[in-house]
């Protein structure tokens, strides 16, 4: 099968959607399918993946509380037409087709077996209702919609009045299960946090406020913080006596992340909102780390209402401190959580998730039919064919 993926975000910038597409494309290629990814890129020379076709430089726009690097406009549209026209794809898998970027362009230009995956979760917004009538004629061309979580599905249902099949994000379980802990980060008691901690919605402040209480009962713990950002500012917020317990590791790569998680006794996810899936929780589960997470909808769903990790009341540092203290005392519960977490994490392995997505492709397909250009864009091509040379 020949599958085309479209990324709305710049390929040379790290992000959840991009790594989802890369992993899925590599997984399918390994299974013998042909894959091609169309994505924006700030710098073409940075792109090392041979299956990626670049469509131009993205522009930065504010979207859903963060800055998104997206791409649109007539030149991009002509690149999309060219890619689809010459791609001979059986299936086109568009990611985040509801945001103004390449996927939306591809959805309006293409015709055939179109599948869309919706990643984002957003609260009910008036502006979304304003743009829904514009999106509807394009989005309705998708033969199948996938949402990465119940939260993303709900967002889709509210804003675009359309339902979706829920298939979670994937991880490579083997790459987390098989590693050994980093000796530098060894015990006594390690609590871990990963994320862009300068963003308030990642909730590091909630965790920092819980530290004095935790230190009173467990004097010998350390808090390992990984992720891009300036550690000094966070340091200033806490009691000087506790500063030596914080270790800032900076940005870490995937291999480092796996051994980082293995070195932990407890992973804390204090995110205050804006989360759609929580891939880090799936990775922590696969590593066998016990989890304490805020009770935001995405985490409650992923941890099955607390079955595979403890939940604390969102933004409540005292509740978090209580849960952390109790769990650090209780080695037996931690061991049990570790075992059940590793088992449950299989559900997120690419072997499972990839099969489920392939199943949706098969539902969208008509045997013998290829993805082509829609009648409008064929006309456009004829008129402006010189531009496409």
């Amino acid at each position: 099968m020949k599958i085309g993926f479209v990324s709305p975000y710049a390929w040379d910038v790290p992000g959840g959607v991009q790594s989802h597409i890369r992993d899925l494309a590599l997984h399918y290629r390994q299974l013998g399918h042909e894959v091609s990814v169309l994505a924006p890129a700030s710098d073409d020379s940075e792109i090392t993946d041979d299956f990626v076709v670049t469509a131009g430089r993205p522009v930065a726009i504010p979207y859903n509380g963060a800055v998104a690097r997206v791409l649109f406009g007539p030149v991009a549209a002509s690149r999309v037409r060219q890619w689809i026209g010459s791609g001979d794809f059986d299936v086109l898998h568009l990611h985040e087709p509801a945001i103004p970027s390449l996927s939306l362009l591809a959805c309006s230009i293409a015709e055939g077996a179109l599948v869309g995956t919706f990643h984002a979760a957003a609260p009910r917004q008036k502006v979304a209702f304003a743009i829904a009538p514009l999106l509807e004629p394009v989005i309705e061309k998708l033969r199948a919609r996938i949402a990465v979580s119940e939260v993303a599905r709900e967002t889709l249902r509210i804003h675009l009045e359309t339902d979706a099949v829920v298939i979670p994000n994937g991880i490579s379980v083997a790459s987390f299960a098989g590693v050994s802990p980093n000796p530098e980060w060894q015990k006594p008691l390690n609590i871990g946090f990963i994320g862009r901690f300068s963003e308030p919605r990642k909730g590091l402040d909630v965790l920092l406020e819980a530290l004095p209480n935790i230190a009173r009962v467990h004097p010998n713990f350390r808090l390992l913080i990984a992720g891009p950002g300036e550690g000094l500012e966070a340091m200033q917020k806490i009691n000087p006596a506790l500063r030596n317990r914080l270790v800032f590791l900076g940005r870490i790569n995937d291999a480092e992340k796996a051994s980082f998680l293995k070195s932990l006794d407890l992973y804390v996810a204090p995110n205050t909102g804006g989360e759609s899936f929580g891939i880090i929780l799936a990775e922590a589960l696969a590593s066998g780390v016990p989890i304490i997470a805020s009770d935001i909808p995405a985490f409650r769903y992923l941890l099955e209402e607390g079955k595979y990790g403890q939940l604390f009341e969102n933004e409540n540092s005292e509740d978090l401190a209580r849960k952390v203290i109790a769990l650090l005392k209780d080695q037996k519960t931690r061991d049990e959580m570790s075992v059940s977490g590793v088992n449950y994490a299989q559900r997120f392995d690419w072997s499972q998730v990839g099969d489920e997505i392939m199943n949706v492709y098969l539902h969208a397909l008509i045997p013998g039919e290829k993805v082509g250009l829609s009648s409008e864009s064929r006309l456009w091509n004829r008129i402006f064919s010189r531009e496409d040379e």
């Binding site: 309705e140 199948a144 339902d163 099949v165 539902h363 969208a364």
Partner: protein, 171 residues
């Protein structure tokens, strides 16, 4: 006065463009509903064939076997409007099998296939319902009715669906 000569054809052109655009949209939605139906139909056919296979293993007691065989035949021959009812009774009949653990142990591959088909069926049904609803709600719009943009395309048939009983098969 002169403006009329520009605006009138321009408005007319815009109206024509909008109507073509709308008709095109509806045509696509019909096409989507047909695709999802073809898919759903194929999976339902496979399920009926599998149900007959299971009924004919000889390990099923005659009463259950008769029930399943009858339900499977009815499901295969049903008209499109009666289809969902016929398929529901097949689901009910297949549920009888799930309780027979002995059968499950002797023919694990048949039951694994039943589980796979049921999983696929769930997705196919939800995609089809989605496609049918989209096409139907568009057809109901005033402008589509006034200009008869649906043409001679038949109204996509809704498939009433028994989600809960399917869940039990895959459990």
């Amino acid at each position: 006065m002169n403006n009329t000569y520009i605006w009138l054809p321009l408005t007319l052109l815009l109206v024509i463009w909008y109507l073509t655009f709308s008709a095109n949209r509806l045509d696509r939605l019909h096409h989507r509903a047909e695709t999802s139906w073809a898919n759903l139909d194929a999976i339902l056919q496979r399920r009926a064939a599998l149900a007959l296979d299971i009924a004919h293993t000889g390990a099923v007691d005659p009463a259950t076997g008769l029930l399943i065989t009858a339900a499977a035949h009815q499901a295969r021959e049903a008209e499109i409007s009666e289809r969902s009812e016929a398929e529901s009774s097949l689901t009910q009949a297949l549920l009888l099998l799930i309780e027979e653990t002995d059968l499950n142990r002797r023919y694990p591959e048949l039951f694994r296939e039943l589980e796979t088909i049921t999983e696929r069926l769930k997705i196919a049904i939800s995609l089809h319902i989605e496609a049918v609803n989209a096409a139907r709600s568009r057809r109901e719009r005033l402008i589509y009715r006034i200009f008869r943009l649906a043409g001679h395309a038949p109204l996509p048939v809704k498939y009433a669906f028994e989600d809960d009983s399917l869940m039990e098969i895959t459990r």
